[in-house]
Symmetry: C2
Subunit: 128 residues, 2 copies
Amino acid sequence: MRLGALKLKVQLFCGDEPAMGPGKADLLEAIAREGSISAAGRALGMSYRRTWLLVDGMNRCFSEKLVETTAGGGSARGARVTEPGWTVLAAYRELEAALEQASAGDALARLTGLLRAAPQPPAGDTGL
Amino acid sequence: MRLGALKLKVQLFCGDEPAMGPGKADLLEAIAREGSISAAGRALGMSYRRTWLLVDGMNRCFSEKLVETTAGGGSARGARVTEPGWTVLAAYRELEAALEQASAGDALARLTGLLRAAPQPPAGDTGL
């Protein structure tokens, strides 16, 4: 999540496995919009294999599947976000919003107040 | 910053260049502790070149240098965190603490409540 000079990355882990994060949240929204895993992946510029692995990862990390595929061969194959999937997505976006709000304080103002508008060019390896 | 199942990454950018983040904050603390860039890098398990690039990146992104090297050849060469460096480090840690506090709410409870203790094993590529 980019907020001016600030970038916040919010991830949820199940053991060592990333269960939810910015990419997976966007993917849930794309699956809801597109109605299939492959179309959602295409819309986000990801390979089918990568998209499928993200969906499989999410589904294995939560007590219920977040994405359900509908039976049917060929082009009729589809996918939908389940009720627990919507719950997780809404809670994740709510957490992001709470963090966005909490970031807008005095500490961030002090940090950005000392930031240059653009970095100075690299000096080379001979000194600082 | 890892908080149970939650991982928060807080980064500050100067244009496209990362100006401050978890690695750079740890590096500032290590430089203050060790008194030199090379010793700080060793303590964090980084190459001298990578350590130097992180310091140079920070110094180019802020209006004043965060790390200053002291003149002197050979083993006498040292580094210290400047006053603006301490200001930036303190504000970054304060921002992290504010975000940690803001994360501990209802949305996170709903997310973790649906998380498994450990991920289910991968199902293979034949289905979800």
